[in-house]
Assembly symmetry: C2
Homo-oligomer: 396 residues x 2
């Protein structure tokens, strides 16, 4: 059948917001790394933002049981009731915090939760304060609903985190919310309980909302990382089964929302998602079993060992790491003494040394050319190999 | 730990768009139906918009194999390359249409695809033409990115579908796109090839885009239901593994986008979704196997048999069904001769006769009070029981 082609002269109609949506530059590097591997080159992967561990066996087992039955229909839009109960129970056992299951909304990854929070909170033109460097998708969730992401440059002085002082100074008449991620991607740093509490209070006084991204909770190696829900009932707390629970590809997360938003969010979830993936929800019922948590905590200790090895080695190589990352699996390293262009540096490191890292440009506009992110999502032997290769590379 | 409560006087800050987002009213009825069932009442379900068949065994088997391995990491944002290839192959074998795999984007259900299309196409204030009655979430995807859904009332004259004439008359200076769903939810009707082609041409001439929702393809019982991709390269064609493939809860769909949008959509997918669910993607690799398609086509014949039973029976009972639904698993029935208030009618039918149907209000503003939707997603014996109960109810 003959198919008319679009007129050669007609440009595609693309929404203006797309100019503000940036691709993850690391994807290009990752694609190039895969290409080099296909050619037989050995690559040390320190660019990948997901745990290298497979999904824990008890979770897989629960998933397989659901697949045996085959009844993988839509769940309620807000999630399986028994999963919402288990998540509430986890707040009780892990943090000693009472969170009613009715406020727990099961989402398609924390990505789903971030979209829902932005859609429910932001009018066009409303601003959201975000730390720079930070996870780049956060500002895009704001942008996609026509909000305005307002990046706040953060540095070693505040542990590369938003601080109460930032909120006091930067909160303007159009600010609707601030988003805090603790532990942070890319810096691995956490916000203290006092500061988190103060920021929730500032948002409240300003008539806005604090959104707290807690997706790296469980991967904290020193210091106290309180859930914001221990401090306030009027914050949006977002979490995920991806990182600590090693369930990235399953696309499952959750949000604990303030009571007055629950019905609104349910409406949005019905319309935008129908439900979170059912196999993932059944599998996640086993995520809080003692057997699973024991596996996960062993893995968390392994991440800590990797961090304890990697950070001093990177410092010896000349990278600036003024604040020890306390969680997640990232080191955001200053490379200003080694290069003026972190993107070219990352490219050369891949091509010449076979080490893949993520250039700073993926995390914002706050001196990205002087930073790269290392992810310790490879076994310690591979990290050692990576460090050796970087040492060679820097000598050359 | 003491938790400060939000000030009693402070209202939650809720985005204005939320006033325009409607819940699915059927959810209330469904909840009530479950309540009655818990009390021991027998309920005939004719309200549920998902196939009653479990996921086909070959698909479950492929899913279980993926779960045996446990390597359920993120895939590429656009989906597993081998799945994109298989989808392209399906267009070749089922429709005789060549679609390059590079234009196939694997999404988190067709819901994910609709959000992506709206985000990539619509500026704030841009209008999208939609048939009323229609699937209610469609207008909410438009609204959430600050577009303006413009409902076009459709009736029996155009088979309850948008027609070229509607587009010609309704396309205004702010219209960016028209969305056609064929077969349609709630009416089950399809658009003819000629009309679909003409609508793609009108959108093109107007400098806009035709979005075609093909999620009920494969469930077509008479007439020809061409994919829009056989007619044009510049349409967005959206499909799903939920309906024909019986994979609702897995949350997997796809979109075939025009070439100039693919990179833009990839960027959005990286940021908004990371990837579609990995277990679902691995499972869906078996969806196009001859063994699976044979199961699905048997089930499609069962749906046809249910339709052929149900429509005449409903007509005998006094429901108006001026156009025979040709696909999906819905009958949108006029109940104007039986009631002035379809919502009260649906409620009474549930309470007094134990039959659950969906009131018209869930599908728009075009005489919803005179319509209800029957879903034939129950076995034919249950449909017979439902018909008998309705007959009794109407006599009372």
């Amino acid at each position: 059948m003959a198919r008319p082609k679009p007129g050669a002269g007609r440009a595609a109609r693309i929404a203006r917001r797309m100019e503000d949506i940036r691709p993850f530059h690391v994807m290009e590097l990752l694609a190039r790394a895969r290409e080099l591997e296909a050619q037989g080159r050995s690559i040390v992967h320190m660019e990948i933002g997901e745990p290298d561990f497979p999904t824990p066996e008890p979770v897989l087992r629960a998933g397989r049981r659901a697949l045996e039955k085959g009844e993988l229909f839509y769940t309620a839009a807000t999630g399986l009731p028994q999963l919402r109960e288990k998540i509430a129970g986890y707040y009780r056992s892990r943090y000693g915090v009472e969170v009613p299951a009715s406020r727990v909304l099961v989402t398609t990854g924390s990505s789903g939760a971030l979209l829902l929070a932005c859609a429910a909170l932001l009018n066009p033109g409303d601003e959201v304060l975000l730390a720079d460097p930070g996870y780049p998708a956060n500002r895009h969730f704001v942008r996609v609903v026509e909000g305005v992401p307002r990046s706040v440059p953060v540095d070693a002085a505040s542990g590369y985190q938003l601080a109460p002082d930032h909120l006091e100074r930067q909160w303007g008449p159009r600010t609707a919310a601030a988003l805090v991620a603790s532990p942070s991607n890319p810096t691995g740093t956490i916000v203290t309980t006092e500061r988190l509490s103060a920021m929730a209070e500032i948002a409240r006084v300003k008539g806005g909302t604090l959104i707290v991204d807690e997706i790296y909770h469980g991967l904290v190696y020193e210091g106290q990382c309180t859930t914001a829900l221990a401090l306030a009932d009027d914050v949006f707390a977002i979490n995920s089964f991806s990182k600590y629970f090693n369930m990235t590809g399953w696309r499952l997360g959750w949000m604990v929302a303030p009571d007055p938003y629950v019905r609104e969010l349910d409406k949005l979830m019905q319309n935008l998602f129908l439900s979170a993936p059912t196999p993932a929800q059944f599998a996640a019922l086993a995520a809080f079993e003692p057997e699973t948590l024991a596996i996960l905590d062993t893995r968390a200790r392994e991440f800590k060992a990797r961090r304890d090895y990697l950070v001093p080695e990177l410092r010896k190589l000349g990278f600036d790491i003024p604040v020890m990352p306390q969680g997640a699996f990232y080191v955001y390293a200053g490379c200003g003494k080694l290069t003026k262009d972190s993107f070219a540096f990352a490219r050369d490191l891949l091509e010449r040394a076979g080490v893949a890292v993520t250039p700073g440009v993926d995390f914002g506009a706050n001196a990205p050319e002087r930073h790269v992110r290392f992810a310790y999502t490879s076994a310690i032997e591979r990290l050692q190999e990576g460090v050796a290769r970087i040492a060679e590379f820097l000598k050359a």
